[in-house]
């Protein structure tokens, strides 16, 4: 009986481990998704050795904090980092989706995305729980010289929502669940501490 039990145990273990590895192989190729270029929501040169793709939510406090880490990394390593910003609004954050819609619209008015992006994070606590957040978004848009009426129309366009949701879906396919999540040359990194460690490790290795 003991022998039979051992055989059954081994068979179940083999089947379970196999099932997990098989399921993992069915996941989409991250390279294809990460290589897609988002021109208006990127910083730096595509030829840079370090590609950082950030999946973030405008209402998440660690995402606001992460931009400091990214900013200092960009300053510390000029020309070495290519940064892409991708939306991942969480359903638990009531204004995150609206903020992402406005930011997507800002990216359509050339050269204005990053300023608006900064404004949203800068004033995060002011609009996060506001029932009339879009009024504040429109005012931030005006502050950075965006065409507000175009922004309003664009944010109500179902096509804009489709783009944001599609981007989030692709993030999910890559395994993103928590914000901020980063892909550093294709490798997923979750949280600010890990981001800093990974960037530091890359440049240390490059130096050596």
């Amino acid at each position: 009986m003991l022998k039979n039990k051992s055989v059954a145990t081994a068979a179940v273990l083999f089947f379970c481990v196999g099932a997990v590895f098989l399921a993992r192989t069915l996941k989409p190729n991250p390279e294809q998704i990460l290589k897609q270029r988002i021109a208006e929501r990127s910083l730096g040169s595509e030829k840079a050795p370090l590609w950082v793709t950030e999946y973030f939510d405008y209402q998440c406090p660690p995402c606001a904090a992460a931009r400091m880490t990214l900013e200092s990394a960009l300053k510390e390593h000029p020309g070495q980092i290519y940064l892409q910003a991708r939306f991942y609004p969480l359903p638990s954050h009531k204004n995150a989706m609206k903020a992402a819609l406005y930011a997507e619209c800002a990216s359509r008015q050339k050269g204005k995305f990053w300023k608006f992006h900064e404004e949203l994070f800068e004033h995060q606590s002011d609009w996060a729980m506001d029932d009339y957040a879009p009024i504040k978004f429109a005012s931030y848009a005006g502050n950075v010289g965006l065409n507000v009426s175009q922004m309003d129309a664009c944010s109500h366009d179902p096509e804009t929502e489709k783009i944001v949701l599609e981007e989030k879906k692709k993030g999910k396919e890559l395994g993103v669940k928590i914000t901020p999540s980063f892909f550093i040359n294709g490798k997923i990194v979750v949280g600010i501490n890990s981001l800093k460690n990974e960037i530091d490790a890359f440049f240390e290795e490059k130096k050596a």
Partner: protein, 152 residues
């Protein structure tokens, strides 16, 4: 099969199922997600956190499958029950320390629950473990363990 053993079978499969789903969710995604969840609880960091983030989902998944099948039932039951007890302690400690954790992240992406809600779920699971353990001492529950014994 009498109603008591059928009920205990349901309890065993449900308990195993919860951990199979929880473990598989974490195994299917990158382990870094679960490492970030562990980090939020501010108990361990560094290498132990990395090891735990990769090992715990396997333990949940495998012990869950074994419990569903009723193979090595006692071992898998105690492994999961022990994990469940530790989770209760960690959740209670996080609530007591008022850590700013909005959602537990304990089920990977399958379920989004706040810490107090997750604590209630975990305590309910703990009670179910107890019910199954005590019940299975008195009533025979169909399992692979007994089938293998019968046909060996």
């Amino acid at each position: 099969m009498n109603p008591a053993s059928f009920l205990l079978l349901i309890v065993r499969v449900a308990l195993g199922g919860v951990f199979v789903v929880s473990g598989f969710q974490k195994l299917w995604g990158p382990w870094e997600n679960f490492a970030a969840v562990i980090e939020k609880f501010e108990i361990i960091r560094g290498l132990p956190m990395t090891v735990l983030a990769q090992a715990l989902p396997w333990a949940e998944f495998l012990a869950g499958v074994f419990l569903i099948l009723g193979l090595r039932t006692l071992v898998s039951l105690f492994v999961l029950w022990a994990m469940n007890t530790v989770f209760i302690g960690i959740l209670a400690s996080a609530i007591a320390r008022r850590l700013p954790i909005q959602e537990c992240g304990c089920f990977g992406g399958a379920l989004s629950l706040s810490l107090p809600k997750m604590l209630v779920v975990d305590i309910s699971l703990w009670v179910l473990f107890l019910v199954f353990f005590l019940g299975s001492r008195r009533v025979k529950v169909p399992s692979l363990d007994t089938s293998i014994g019968k046909y060996a």
